[in-house]
Symmetry: C2
Subunit: 473 residues, 2 copies
């Protein structure tokens, strides 16, 4: 338990500055911004380096105190929400913000877990390289959290998830030992891939303290378009066409329905409709290549022209400047905020094979509209990844709180269809505390047992993020 | 143990056709082609499908019989070399060769473990897609083995290792249960990444029976060049330049020394020197893009011109046809065969960060030449991955067998330098039975302990490929 003796042990590890125990100091670390969880912790430990992190973990292991690791605290499923003042502390990585190394010949950057994502992007840009991980919270989320949750975002189509960008890790294990795995190697077949086991494990197997990440050549050509399409099937066809003509240089491809565009026009300053007439669905597309030249523009134009002739699109606007491209992106990025201003919404972060995305939208929309009269479906997201944020906006003039109470029913309807289509009920956001029940319901039993065995093997005392991911651990 | 009762149990699972026990029938499965290991097994089980595989594993678990899984038996480290007629069987996946599904909208192919790699490539090409995994043994290696060893090859630079191409797996676990993880999803954050744990685990954690793999748009432009360079540093610089001008479309970039070219000219029919004068080192480069157009040619020409002016290259030949490109590739692919014809050689499959590759070549060459008088270094490989096959050719007129006896000494010299440069002593080929000692010597102790804990958790009876990877398990 967290008692005075334990706290003074932590103070020895961390110094005065590294340990917060006053309620006011701890408050920012005990906020769960979606409002799903009340938070409590006996202290907030803020180590300055890996050695201090290891010392904190060793102390917790000895005392049997649970550790809730926290990066930017921007997660969506309560994975960083500490739950007990008696038996848990928050381990905040926000003082470990060093960029340890940039190696341009090896195209790698080595950063500490507390680096803010945007700072990693900027450091890469500073040496004419590109770090492609990009998501709405990039100004405040931290890379350790991005890796612990295997963050996705808009560039997964071309560059992969956080997992795919990670070459090496430094991790404090449950007994306080450090695995020094900060490899910048492209090839290393010397044993089990611990790296990929820690990425996406939501802090339940170890504490990521640093990572070596892949960099890419900086884009030299950039193009963007905003196209009106009849339906998601046309969007899938258009994406395939643009990937082919552009040489697989579509780096983002976001689908949104007319309703989402209308919400941003209504609620978000600076949004305007890029097309003259309304269309049922839209694709916001970005292309980029590090090659010099102007062939990407030609490829995009000829691709859109052919798509128009094939009846895949009904209209399209090409970005004539970086400002145009930013305006298109502005719409897509502000859908969540517009949804909040419109009222209550129930969110689903699902993925299906791209080939089944049109069927999913049709079936899920019909099923939910039958189940919840007046609901307004706002299904948008990463079409190239088969990943939709299938969000449900409350009926107009309905009571928001009453609407939110229907979330379990809505989840069942949507996630059952996802499961029938071999999809995922949590594509990007993870399990955290919010979706542990869904995991047990939908996961392959053999997988669940293997996960439990691994958790038991690597964290036998169960001190790492208790209650997260595997609720029964 | 493997006795009559156990064999009749297997016969019930597999039928007569699926079980081999006669020495002549078993012989092809008990051949270790590099000659490092004598093989023995009590039987060879050849299941026709996943259910039969599961039944065999369950029977072995009950009887405590070790399972040595085998694909095309082309591995280089004895990972498929069974060692006991009393306590082990070979589990050959070579009857499970179905292509279960190709989904062009999702860009995925689902294949059984026994599919030969070239057949997967051909199936992709048949639907205008590209499956990029490519290596010398592709005509006989099987995809299950490629995944179990996380195969690399020549296209890793652009497309990644086997690991990066794998979206989903079907795996028989150590107790005979099946994990149904054949996902075609790009995003799925619902628990630990078991997939990447099984990939590269060399059959020690589970038996891969099928996989869903990523496909890419088929190349529309292809270019190739063969350039003379002064040294590996110039090769690294040239690769960076070509990646930038081509829009990151260098798909293969192979470094070879003059000595390697000379060996192929001497021993391999159809090889000729693409350049007029000799150069100390060469780069064999291939570029490809799925985009229509001819800008890749222009990019390559302008890149080589600029490299010439910058002093990075001393001469270069551009492929004027697919035949030219094949001739360049022919040289690179036949270095191992030329080495065999030249006499005995000691092989090292190492990787270092790309930025440290020039230093590695200089230091390792000097150290080994001092240690072994007259040795001829033949260091070639995948410069973009920092992965060199740092092979040592016996001195001319030396005794081959006596030379080979110096392998442990050579390993120590080379692998110590690799370790100092934060490299890997086994970049592509894995650990198998051959390198278990090196793993224990060079691996981070915390990593080794975590690996042992995972092995114990997922295979508590130790029946899966005993003696491979973790020799003490």
């Amino acid at each position: 338990v967290v008692d005075e003796e334990f706290l003074s042990r932590l103070r020895e590890c961390l110094g005065e500055r590294g340990l917060l125990t006053a309620a006011g100091d701890m408050a920012p670390y005990l906020r769960e911004w979606r409002g799903h969880f009340q938070c409590a912790a006996g202290a907030v430990a803020r180590p300055a380096n890996t050695d201090e992190t290891a010392a904190v973990v060793a102390a917790c292991a000895e005392a049997g105190v649970g550790i809730v690791p926290q990066g930017g605290n921007t997660g969506l499923v309560g994975g960083a929400a500490a739950q007990s003042a008696e038996s848990q502390i928050v381990l905040a990585l926000d003082r470990m913000t060093r960029i340890r190394e940039i190696d341009t010949d090896n195209d790698t950057i080595t950063v500490e877990a507390g680096c803010i994502l945007a700072e990693v992007q900027n450091a890469a840009a500073g040496v004419q390289r590109f770090f492609p991980l990009s998501l709405a919270a990039e100004g405040s989320c931290r890379i350790g959290g991005n890796l612990a949750t295997n963050a996705g975002g808009v560039n997964v189509l071309r560059y992969g998830n956080a997992r795919d960008l990670t070459l090496g890790l430094e991790v404090v294990l449950a007994d306080g030992r450090v695995w020094h795995g900060l490899s910048g190697l492209r090839k290393d077949n010397t044993g089990y891939d611990l790296r990929q086991l820690f990425v996406g494990s939501e802090g339940t197997l170890g504490i990521i303290t640093a990572a070596t990440l892949r960099l890419f050549p900086a884009p030299a050509q950039r193009e963007a378009a905003f196209a009106g399409v009849e339906n998601p099937a046309a969007a899938v066809a258009l994406l395939g066409r643009l990937r082919a003509v552009s040489g697989d240089n579509v780096i983002a491809c976001e689908l949104l329905p007319r309703f989402a565009l209308e919400l941003t026009l209504r609620h978000i300053p600076g949004c305007r409709d890029p097309l003259d007439a309304p269309h049922p669905w839209y694709l916001q597309v970005e292309l980029a290549s590090p090659a010099q030249g102007n062939w990407l523009r030609e490829a995009l134009e000829s691709g859109l022209e052919a798509a128009f002739e094939a009846g895949e699109i009904t209209d399209a606007a090409l970005a004539g400047s970086l400002e145009d491209a930013a305006a298109f992106r502005h719409i897509r990025e502000h859908i969540p905020e517009a949804q909040i201003r419109e009222g209550a919404s129930i969110k689903h972060d699902v993925a299906v094979p791209v080939s089944r995305l049109p069927e999913f939208v049709t079936r899920a929309t019909a099923a939910i509209e039958e189940e919840m009269a007046g609901v307004r479906v706002c299904a948008f997201g990463h079409v190239g990844d088969g990943n939709l944020h299938f969000n449900l906006q409350q009926p107009e003039d309905a009571d928001g709180a009453a609407f939110l109470k229907q979330a379990p029913k809505a989840n069942r309807v949507i996630h059952d269809i996802v499961a029938e289509l071999d999809g995922s009920f949590s594509a990007e956001h993870g399990i955290g505390r919010l979706k542990t029940g869904e995991l047990i319901r939908y996961a392959d039993p053999a997988k669940l047992d293997a996960m439990r065995a691994i958790k038991q093997a690597l964290d036998p005392k169960g001190i790492l993020n208790p209650g997260v991911l595997l609720a029964d651990n």
